[in-house]
């Protein structure tokens, strides 16, 4: 019995030693080392067979080297991710603490208020369509929320939104010490009188879609509107006079004065 144990243990030790030397040898590239598949479009795999509904059987040996992706049949049908139901009339009552936490998270993703937020997830920056897939209309998935773009007319997303570090450099500490404090995020607009709709306390340039933050299913927690069913926001909430600067004009565009026929002065009518 003890002999069997000895033979077994010596085999284990021998394998460990061999494994150790292979491991420290420079000859074994890390799987991550030369990763050619990272940018390969899964749909371009030619392993799909002619009958789009058939998936070819593989031997176990081939599984590791085979790219697996959606079948042709699945690719051919446009897919919508199932989205949770959104009730427009759910009462929105965030507590002050929730609002605070939410605005802290928001601030942590910007260099200063008004700066473009960073991209808080990995991207493979191959084209802008990839951003639009989730961010043009917003998506909720697995507890995560893709916010809605409020300036779809501006493509080339990473020109302003800084992505995460490239994969090989993500462990580098890139913290920057800075004493810079930008302007705080505005909390609320001005009201003409108690009960009046507040003005918009930020500029509207690139934020034309109010629902991107303030309502709908993908708004920012703590910033949601209490009445998202009213969709024409600027009908009641006036844009900021100081932040929404239009080119100055000496002539305020107005309709021409009405051409009202008036009786002649001095013809006996009271003035």
């Amino acid at each position: 019995m003890s002999r069997v144990v000895t033979i077994f243990l010596s085999c284990v030790i021998a394998m460990a030693v061999i494994g150790f030397f292979i491991g420290i040898g420079a000859g074994v590239p890390k799987p991550d080392g030369i990763n050619e598949s990272s940018l390969v479009d899964l749909r371009s795999t030619d392993s799909a067979v002619v009958d789009s509904k058939l998936v070819p059987a593989l031997s176990y040996a081939d599984i590791a080297s085979t790219l697996m992706g959606p079948t042709k049949a699945w690719q051919a049908t446009p897919q919508n991710l199932p989205q949770p139901e959104f009730d427009l009339y759910t009462k929105v009552e965030p507590s002050e603490a929730e609002k605070e936490a939410s605005s802290k998270l928001r601030a942590s993703r910007r260099a200063y208020n008004g700066a473009p937020p960073i991209i808080p997830h990995p991207v493979e920056n191959t084209n802008d369509a990839a951003c639009y897939a989730c961010h043009s209309g917003g998506v909720k998935l697995a507890g995560l929320k893709a916010s809605v773009m409020s300036h779809e007319y501006l493509a080339n997303c990473v020109q302003c939104h800084a992505p995460m570090a490239p994969a090989p450099f993500q462990s580098i500490d890139a913290t920057v010490e800075s004493t810079f404090v930008g302007l705080p995020a505005p909390k609320e607009g001005k009201r003409a009188y108690k009960g009046a709709p507040p003005t918009i306390p930020h500029s509207r340039w690139m934020r034309e879609n109010c629902n991107a933050c303030h309502g709908g299913p993908h708004g920012w927690a703590g910033m949601e509107s209490t009445h998202p069913w009213r969709t024409n926001c600027v009908q009641c909430h006036a844009p900021s006079a100081t932040l929404d600067q239009m080119p100055e004009s000496e002539v305020v565009p107005m309709l021409p004065p009405l051409d009202v026929v008036t009786a002649k002065v001095g013809a006996g009518t009271p003035q």
Partner: protein
């Protein structure tokens, strides 16, 4: 296009000349050649021959030829430093313009070539204002006596006070500064403003680092943050950022823009312009002749409405008046000779930038020019000409279609240094990163310089993703982490390294060989080798 007979004959006949470099000593102007001569010289550069020289597939050259031969489409060619930073940079630029001229793809909206070099304020305050060593404002050069005379008149200087001898260009200037005085290094004091040569010069070991330990060399650096250049500075002057001072700049679009100071600079930081005036006034007080006009007054003297001089060299009085406005109104005088007319300062205050030539209209308003040299928009084009390249180097309103012979690169990979090195920028960081590396979101997005390699090259050298390697050239070394098949996916045999990271100075390796005319160093190609850290030398 010539072989297909698809070039724009009428455009070439009406608006172009042919030009080639002189055989003995080539100059920027070159010499006129006939169309016959042009055809003869270019004949040997068939797409196949070009493929042999450059590796660009012949079919791609043919495809471009067919594209340019089609006059129904419009073609805009845009490029950055990838074309300019070569020993043949000027030649490449004139050849690309030549392709556009030959094909008539010029002067219609959307149909022109443009080099995207107009970072504020490379165009406005370098080329237009004439801060280069051989230049004077408004397209003038020190070599021409009439140009010197005009400047002396505008500036009220003694006749003959402007030297006809051009100063040193940048590479030569740093050579002379870092060379000991005893060995002929005749520059002893250097004042660096708004640039970071300690990081951006090529071959830093030869052109910058040698300053260390030279007692009689004095380096003054004005900057907003500590930089690679301030490391060797003998005097650091804290500078105000652009929002902390009044300013004016011009971009390559020809647009001149004005802004007012928005916040006060912190601590003792001051406007660069004030520093220049303060130093000039100190020299004036010390009796330096160059700081006096012909009446013996200070050259930057500004007087108030009562004729009393405002002491703008004292910072507390600098903003008593708008110094920019005084300087700009004086500079405007220079702009009309080459028909790059500028509007009065106050026009730029209300406009959102104006593109020169800005010409006053009959109603007193000022009109900018969107399309230069095209009759439909440029008021200086003779009526009926359609296009007129006024002030062209041949003085006949015609543009030059250049021919240049192929010239081999100054350094080519060999057995010792088998790889091509190309350097450049990344999206996240502006140039040397003095500002952008101090911003968390940007620094996190691109936390380090890297060496980008082709996966086959990495495999052959047994180099892994993220591994630190040493890149070596004949001039220096640099240690960098590897990014295999990164953004640029470099072809086999080439590596790319960005230059923004002051902790990993790739310009220790680059080559100081430069273009004979633009003086741009060849940052885009030199020979290097990449070795695993365990096998490499200790980086300098």
């Amino acid at each position: 296009m010539i072989a297909n007979d698809s070039y724009d004959k009428s455009f070439v006949e009406k608006h172009c000349n042919f030009r080639g470099a002189e055989a003995d000593t080539p100059t920027l102007q070159g010499e006129a050649i006939s169309e016959e001569e042009f055809r003869k010289r270019i004949a040997k550069y068939t797409p196949e021959h070009v493929e042999e020289l450059s590796g660009v597939p012949a079919e791609k050259s043919r495809m471009l030829g067919e594209l340019f031969g089609n006059h129904d489409i419009r073609i805009t060619s845009l490029w950055c430093m990838g074309m300019n930073q070569h020993t043949m940079g000027t030649a490449i630029n004139s050849l690309v313009h030549g392709v556009h001229l030959l094909s008539g793809h010029f002067g219609r909206p959307g149909d022109a070539p443009t080099s995207l070099t107009g970072q504020p304020s490379a165009c406005g305050t370098v080329r237009e204002v004439g801060t280069l060593a051989h230049a004077l404002p408004g397209g003038r050069v020190v070599a021409k006596p009439e140009h010197r005379e005009q400047c002396e008149e505008f500036w009220n200087l003694r006749p003959g006070s402007i030297s006809d001898l051009p100063g040193y260009h940048t590479v030569k200037m740093f050579e002379q500064f870092t060379k000991p005085t005893a060995e002929g290094g005749d520059i002893t004091t250097l004042f660096v403003q708004v640039t970071n040569p300690g990081q951006t010069l090529p071959n830093l070991n030869a052109l910058f680092n040698d300053k260390k330990g030279l007692e009689d060399k004095f380096l003054i650096v004005s900057d907003v943050y500590p930089t690679a250049t301030t490391q060797l500075a003998d005097l650091i002057l804290p500078a105000a950022l652009w929002v902390e001072k009044n300013g004016m700049f011009g971009n390559s679009e020809r647009r001149t823009q004005q802004w007012f100071k928005m916040v006060d600079p912190p601590g003792e930081a001051r406007d660069d312009c004030w520093m220049t005036i303060a130093i000039a006034h100190k020299l004036f007080e010390m009796g330096h002749e160059g700081m006096q006009d012909k009446n013996g007054e200070f050259i930057f003297a500004i007087k108030d409405s009562d004729g009393r001089e405002i002491p703008i060299w004292q910072f507390e009085h600098y903003y008593d008046t708008n110094v920019d406005k005084h300087l700009f109104e004086e500079y405007r005088l220079f702009s009309t000779m080459k028909h790059k007319n500028l509007a009065p300062y106050d026009e730029y205050v209300t406009a959102r930038g104006l593109r020169w030539p800005v010409v006053q209209q009959d109603d007193g308003s000022w009109r900018e020019t969107r399309y230069r040299f095209s009759e439909f928009d440029d008021p200086f084009v003779t009526k009926g000409q359609e296009f007129e390249f006024y002030h062209s180097s041949s003085n006949d309103g015609r543009a030059q279609i250049w021919f240049h012979e192929y010239a081999p690169p100054p350094e080519v990979p060999d057995d010792d240094y088998p790889m091509w090195l190309c350097t450049g920028r990344v999206l996240e960081h502006w140039h040397t990163g003095t500002l952008t590396r101090r911003l968390s979101p940007l620094n996190r997005a691109m936390p380090t310089a890297y060496i980008e390699m082709n996966s086959e090259d990495a495999k052959a050298a047994n180099i892994r993703q993220g591994e630190k390697v040493v890149i070596e050239s004949r001039r220096g070394t640099c240690e960098l982490p590897v990014w295999i098949d990164g953004r640029g996916r470099p072809p086999r045999g080439t590596v790319f390294v960005p230059f923004f990271d002051e902790t990993k100075l790739i310009n220790n390796c680059t080559l100081e060989a430069h273009d004979p005319f633009s003086k741009q160093p060849d940052f885009k190609k030199c020979a290097v080798r990449v070795v695993k850290k365990s096998e490499g030398k200790v980086p300098s």
